[in-house]
Amino acid sequence: MINLVVGTIKGGFVFTSDAARREWKLVREIFPGWTVTAVARTPSGRYLAGTGSFVYGATVQSSRDLEHWEQAAQSPAFPEGSDRRLDQIWCFNASGDRIYSGVSEAGLFFSDDDGDHWSPVDGLNEHETRSDWIPGFGGLCAHAVLVDRNNPERLWCGISAVGVFRSDDGGDTWTPKNEGVTPAVPDALHGIGRCVHGLAIDPQNANRIFRQDHMGMYRTLDGADSWEKTETGLPSGFGFPIRRDDRTGTLFVFPQESGEYRMPPGRTFQVYRSRSDGDSWEPAGSGPASYAGVLRGAMAVDSLAPCGVYVGTTSGTVHISPDAGDSWIILPFTLPRVLCVESFVESP
């Protein structure tokens, strides 16, 4: 069975399907009225959700069954008295038993008790370049955390309008790693001012990271020491999400027409994929006429073979490919604006 969680600006929606992934049933609304901005499952099997409200703030919720939820005893939070405001939980990722969460206003937090209590990663949150971090259109958000599964000391964090940082000492210290990426912020200093939108890593070889940036599609083969553009076949280098099928290495993106328009270049729903680590890209099937964009969290890839690809749009439609992008179905629902999508293959 597959569970698909779609997070929107007005709540979360849980769908289920069998392994064929062609027929889906809406089984539950979760957090009605709240934004659902991130969903993940920890190595212990616990689900975490980032929920929020522009009135009542953002917190982490946890569940064992996607039905009964409990608020973390201590969600990520800046210290009392801080002039920073935590307004959104952007992502979760695990390195061993430690769980990381990226938030906005940009910050990184960790939990060593499966998401109940969170502490700040001061080496990044209080980085010496912090005063030069300038928010972009999407605010100042730490939206991606990557881990090296073969070396828990090595981490990467992507911050919109700032760039990628790497730590080689388990998060104690961080260094901007954006060499080769065109700055998005004029007169950027200290190797920052780069607007990373999405990141995907090869878990077998963490030196290989793929980057959907405001200024184009990039990859690194040396752990982010240097980046190169890889846009052959793409109608636009601009977009937000990037996901990788770790079984085959296939990459998936959703190109959009520039920061000004943020609509599909051909005015159709069109995912692109690369089966060559970004050397070249091709359309992945085809979709209907569409003017909707796809936000950075609103794409997921499952672990089945062939992989399922899940995409939610800013117009509230959800597109699913059960065959690695060859064909697509659309869920018969119009949801609120989709912020995040995550799939979970459940044990029988």
């Binding site: 600006i9 957090f31 009605p32 009225g33 709240w34 929920t51 409200s53 522009f54 009135v55 009542y56 703030g57 917190t59 608020q71 005893a73 969600s75 939070a77 800046f78 210290p79 009392e80 008295g81 801080s82 002039d83 920073r84 405001r85 935590l86």
Partner: protein, 93 residues
């Protein structure tokens, strides 16, 4: 101490499993809110921002009075007073 009622917004009662109206104790608004958050610790993060003040769009009324510009420690309560927490109507989607 005075016993007062607190009426809670539905977004919070549904998320946290708190009754829509609860009874708390306090001779001042500050004491009453401390009692409220002591009984439901998960509530505090939703009411207060990092400055320690009510979040920008959270309103706290005592009976018919908006307490935004009144110091909570100096706002005295009597038995039967009603505290209402609600979100400011700020437009949007």
């Amino acid at each position: 101490m005075a016993t007062v009622s607190v009426r809670m917004p539905s977004l919070l009662t549904s998320l946290l499993g708190i009754p829509k109206t609860v009874q708390v104790s306090g001779d001042s608004l500050q004491q009453a809110i401390e009692d409220l958050c002591g009984r439901w610790p998960s509530l505090a993060v939703h009411l207060f921002d990092e400055s320690g003040a009510f979040r920008e769009h959270v309103l706290c009324f005592v009976n018919d009075t908006n307490t935004r510009d009144v110091g909570a420690s100096e706002y005295f309560l009597g038995d039967g007073d009603v505290i209402t927490i609600l979100q400011a109507v700020s437009g949007g989607c």
